[in-house]
Amino acid sequence: MDQRHDEEMRVRRTTLDDGRYFIFYEFLRSEPFDNLPGPEKGEPTHSLTKKEAGV
């Protein structure tokens, strides 16, 4: 399972003069600790493979 839950993270990508990429990670706010969802019992632990991701 690929758990995507990072709405507060922003990714900004630029290219350096020599063609290498440079990625800035910016964060909007932190989640209140007590309100974070946790894993539920019985959750499958299979991770997304390339094929499943459509790559």
Binding site: M9, V11, R20, Y25, S30, P39, T49, K50, A53, V55
Partner: protein
């Protein structure tokens, strides 16, 4: 000039990367390439005057997305292939004099999320078979830049150490029907002598079979294989666990503690690795405040480590420096 050369004796690849001989070596702070580029200052690698966490392609990589063709000939005995892959640098903080241990737990939490994003992105590249997240810290390890940072290597094959762990995990599961690391965790929690720290989602222990005197493994309590499997709560708990361990390491000898930190998770090929278990390992080279554990002939030449210390005693030493982590919002955990 770089390529991957096959070692037929060990059945593994070796990367030659001669351009790395010229890489920046311990520059003074005014010429640190990992600091933000200030107006009128030294043009660092970072193209802006500030950042929170940043990731970029290594200027002196061992692996490249578009590698040059090898200049040596491949043969049946000595296969050679282009050194295709990705090498990234992860900047933990714009503060040159900081370290991951000194950063607030909120910054480490951000880093966990960045690692997750990079693992996901690099795993989707068709030539990437394994994403290896790690940190080399301290001159004792051979670090050439002091600015707090880690690295990510995306290999075009599953590296040998991981292949061994995968094989051992599969064998144990076949023999017992159980995950190997889950079994280790269960035994260690019952015994208790080698547990260093715990929180709701992670356990840190000094392994029964430790190779390094202060080696620590961090296991997820829940059985999963990769960063992308973690819940939001587990991401925060991992940050808290890392903070606890890193601070304890620094307090042990009251120094900025050198270590290698490596993250072991599932490969990024099309395989299924449900019997593998996410974990992080620390290999600190110090065996006493001013003494290194050197890797000599038995370790390198025969593959058998000799540990001059007892894991149970070293775990007890580290436990006394474990403190709960305080988040800025007032919550405490660990």
């Amino acid at each position: 000039m770089s390529e991957l050369r096959w070692n037929p004796l060990l059945g593994e690849w070796v990367a030659t990367a001669t351009q790395r001989q010229e890489r920046t070596f311990l520059p003074p702070i005014d010429y640190c390439p990992l600091c933000p580029t200030r107006p009128g200052g030294f043009p660092a690698e970072v193209p802006e005057p500030d950042y929170d966490i940043a990731v970029f392609e290594n200027r002196f990589p061992s692996l490249r997305k578009d590698p040059e063709n090898p200049t040596v000939e491949s043969s049946d005995l000595y296969p050679v292939r282009p050194s295709q892959g990705v090498c990234e640098v992860v900047l933990y903080s714009p503060n040159h004099n900081s370290s991951l241990a000194q950063e607030p737990v909120e910054q480490i939490h951000k880093l966990v999320r960045v690692w997750t994003d990079r693992f996901r992105a690099l795993s989707l590249l068709d030539f990437v078979k394994y994403v290896f997240i790690f940190e080399n810290k301290g001159e004792a390890i051979g670090v050439t830049l002091h600015h707090p940072h880690g690295q990510i290597y995306a290999y075009p094959f599953i590296p040998p150490r991981i292949a061994s762990e995968l094989a051992q995990s599969a064998l144990h599961h076949k023999q017992t029907g159980r995950c190997l690391i889950c079994a280790i965790q269960s035994k260690e929690l019952t015994d208790g002598r080698r547990i260093v720290a715990e929180n709701d989602s992670f356990i840190a222990l000094l392994p029964f079979f430790a190779r390094w005197p202060y080696e620590i493994h961090i296991h997820s309590r829940r059985h999963f294989q990769a960063l992308t499997d973690m819940s939001a709560a587990e991401q925060r708990e991992l940050a808290a666990m890392l903070k606890m361990i890193l601070v304890a390491y620094d307090k042990l000898f009251a120094i900025s503690f050198p270590y290698m930190m490596v993250m072991h998770q599932r490969p990024s090929d099309d395989g299924v690795y449900d019997d593998y278990h996410f974990h992080i390992e620390f290999y600190p080279p110090l065996r006493a405040a001013n003494r290194l554990k050197y890797l000599a002939s038995s370790e390198i030449g025969a593959g058998m480590f000799i540990n001059d210390t007892l894991p149970e005693e070293k775990a007890r030493e580290l436990r006394q420096f474990i403190e709960p982590v305080a988040w800025a919002g007032g919550a405490r955990n660990g």
